[in-house]
Amino acid sequence: MHTAYDSKIEGNVIVTRVDAAINWMRKNSLWPMPMGLACCAIELMATASSRFDISRFGMEVMRFSPRQSDVLIVSGTVTYKMALAVKRIWDQMPEPKWCIAMGACASSGGMYRSYAVLQGIDRLIPVDVYISGCPPRPEALIEGLMKLQRKIEGEQSTVDQKKEFFEQVS
């Protein structure tokens, strides 16, 4: 009888790739930075509240500090006066980070074709997921967040880092 070998461990070990494991952890603990700028922010708050409950996705931790957050949810009209502040918050977020443009205004300026409104936050920062609607319902935001999860699944989280590492070594 080999006491050193616990035969039960076979069912408790999962073999996977590092990439898959890291992506799985990242996508299930997305901490949003709520950039509430207009009425979309109300729907964002509804999404976080108990009826829709994004804590089911590990996203309930709204971080009001950009240094602790993973996904910037730009919810609302980005005026030119606010635009560089949004950019600055984006720059303060640590990598890896993602951005969601929530609603018509954040995606394209929406109905505000005017001197005061930035015509889409993608003119300043890269956007991963656009959500249509004015404002989008919480289900739409959850759909967008799930799309982002699917996108994170397909990322090569370590391959790029390894490539850099090997380039430095060689």
Binding site: Y112, R113, Y115, L118
Partner: protein, 189 residues
């Protein structure tokens, strides 16, 4: 005393400085000369009981001379009467600030300065209130395009031109056919 009585009193006191007065659906409007504006406002506050300044707005009659019109909306504190006082202001005129009469005038006048570019003489702190310091245009003037103009202030703000796709789209009022009343691109001839 009602607003109609007040207009009669003001007409007696200021005589030819009162240019016109109208009543439309029980709204009373008094048009006064620019040099008498501050005295009229003071009289309204001190003697006639208009303790409250509701709003200061401005109108751009582009192409006319004088170009602008500044509108003060006054009210009694018990809401028993309202009075609107209009003054024609030319482009290089500086109407007197009412901030010494009503502190509420402070921000209203800053907004008029920001959006229309009318300077108020004697204002305690005439800075822009909505746009940033250094923004070179006055967006609510008629000769400012709705789409905006490109500006650039590094580290402060920038603006671009919004795509209007043939707009601005305006409804034609009064048309019998609802299809004709629908918002259409304004035809530039």
């Amino acid at each position: 005393m009602s607003a109609a009585d007040d207009i009669r009193t003001l007409r007696e006191t200021f005589a030819d400085k009162v240019i016109a007065s109208t009543e439309f659906r029980s709204e009373h409007t008094l048009t006064v000369a620019l040099d008498a504006l501050h005295d009229v406002l003071r009289e309204c506050r001190d003697t006639l009981g208009y303790a409250m300044l509701l709003d200061i707005s401005s109108v751009d009659h582009f192409g006319d001379d004088p170009r602008f019109e500044v509108v003060h909306e006054l009210a009694a504190i018990d809401d028993s009467k309202h009075l609107r006082i209009k003054t024609a202001v030319a482009e290089d005129d500086e109407p007197p600030s009412a901030a010494d009469l009503w502190p509420a005038a402070d921000w209203h006048e800053r907004e008029v300065w920001d959006m229309m570019g009318i300077r108020f003489a004697g204002h305690p702190d005439l800075r822009r209130i909505l746009m940033w310091e250094g923004y070179p245009h006055f967006p609510l003037r008629k000769d400012f395009p709705l789409a905006g103009r490109p500006t650039e202030m590094p580290d402060v703000a920038f603006t671009g031109v919004a795509p209007l796709e043939g707009g601005p789209f305006v409804t034609s009022s009064g048309g019998e056919d609802p299809v004709r009343r629908e918002p259409r691109a304004r035809v530039v001839e």
